[in-house]
Amino acid sequence: MQLYRTLWRLADVVEVVPETPRTKSLVLEVPGWEGHKAGQHVDVRLTAEDGYQAQRSYSIASAPEDDRLVLTVERLEDGEVSPYLTEVLMAGDQLELRGPIGGYFTWEAREGGPLFLIGGGSGVVPLMAMLRHRAAVGSDVPTRLLYASRSYEEIIYRRELEHLAARDGSLAVIHTLTRSRPASWRGYQRRIDAAMLAEVAWSPDEGPLAFVCGPTPLVEAVGAALVGLGHDAARVKTERFGATGG
């Protein structure tokens, strides 16, 4: 007798959208999707013909208010799942997933702010879900996104972030490019460090809610730096993507 039903279900791939040279967004239709909170993720499972399975977690990029579920996936060089999702998967395929998952790294507009989002590389994905949700509900919670990318071409959602910030005075997007930059670049050009955070962050007595997401070394360094600057550790939430994803 089975005591429970598995939570895995099949989603239909509606579209695969290139975002940057290394990332694509998967637009999915999930029958019976009960909704999610910005910041949550799904587990994706691939099964080969001989039964071999590989499983990874991907943050949800879409807002809870959006029609379809969107995942943004970065193709990792020696990855096992991400090359399949970004190079093989196409519209018309199905994808097995489980979720939404996560009650800790989430934000809803009614929680207020100020909101300080710090992301590195594909760590921006759950933060983008938060920004899309914020825009969808017309929130004016003061928000800053500090976003580290390797290069200008690798800034995920670059145009959309420009549009969001351009029309919303309560949102600021600050980029830093860590490996290469266009000749005309006037912004930050190094890894996020305590000095950069001191310039960009709200002061601790404004009580910001901080969400930090990206590779584990970045998240640990930023988390420690924020606490070092006097921020309340209980208001700094982190999501580590590990040394690599897969």
Binding site: L10, T47, E80, V88
Partner: protein
């Protein structure tokens, strides 16, 4: 519900089946690191290895003393329960037979215990008779911490979770106590050739 679902075009990282490998295994070029906790960093001055438990007299070696024990070069295939295998891996270490020389015991089982909280259990006869070592070098170099350095147990004829990383001693036991993975549904014995991956296999 999604039982029987196959992801179109997905093969995974494996290569084709190889007759030299135990059932269900594939050949791996790299050396995957699987860790259930933070990598211990015991300095060599603080390291020791012990044979304790159901013995008349416990034995203990410092790192200096351990390195002076007769050692061997061991070349073996290794098989991980997560399905990767590496053929002809080269190690250097001390045979468990050497460590148990002169040890009087009625124990039939042994638990390998390690820095961190990892343990694994084995029948004593599976680590004796030239079947097991405490290895401190891999491919001619000192064993890296992520792969179990300064020293790990090496029991190549069983699934590699039995080759406990960061091993600090062998506790001889009158009864068989399931270790870290054995108590989470993994097979108590773990013979790759009989595909004993999980409890009940």
């Amino acid at each position: 519900m999604s039982a029987g679902f196959i992801s179109r075009g997905f093969r995974g990282r494996r290569r084709g089946p190889d007759r030299q490998l135990p059932p269900g295994q594939y050949l791996e070029d790299g050396f995957p690191v699987l860790s259930a906790g933070p990598t211990p960093r015991t300095p060599l001055e603080a390291w020791d290895f012990a044979v304790v438990g159901e013995v008349d007299e416990p034995k203990r070696w410092t790192w200096e003393e351990f390195k002076q024990l007769p050692s061997e070069e061991i070349t073996r295939d290794i098989h991980c329960v997560t399905k990767w295998s590496k053929l002809g891996t080269r190690w250097e270490g001390v045979s468990v037979d050497t460590l148990l020389e002169g040890v009087e015991t009625a124990a039939e089982y042994v638990t390998a215990y390690c820095d961190g909280d990892y343990t694994t259990n084995l029948p004593l006869e599976e680590v004796t008779g030239g079947k097991a070592w405490v290895a401190y070098a891999y491919e001619g170099e000192p064993l890296e911490p992520v792969h179990g350095g300064p020293a790990r147990l090496l029991v190549p004829h069983l699934y590699f979770w039995k080759s406990a990383k960061w091993v600090r001693g062998l506790r001889l036991m009158a009864s068989d106590i399931p270790g870290f993975w054995e108590s989470l549904g993994y097979h108590n014995y773990g013979d790759p050739w009989r595909e004993q991956r999980y409890w009940g296999d």
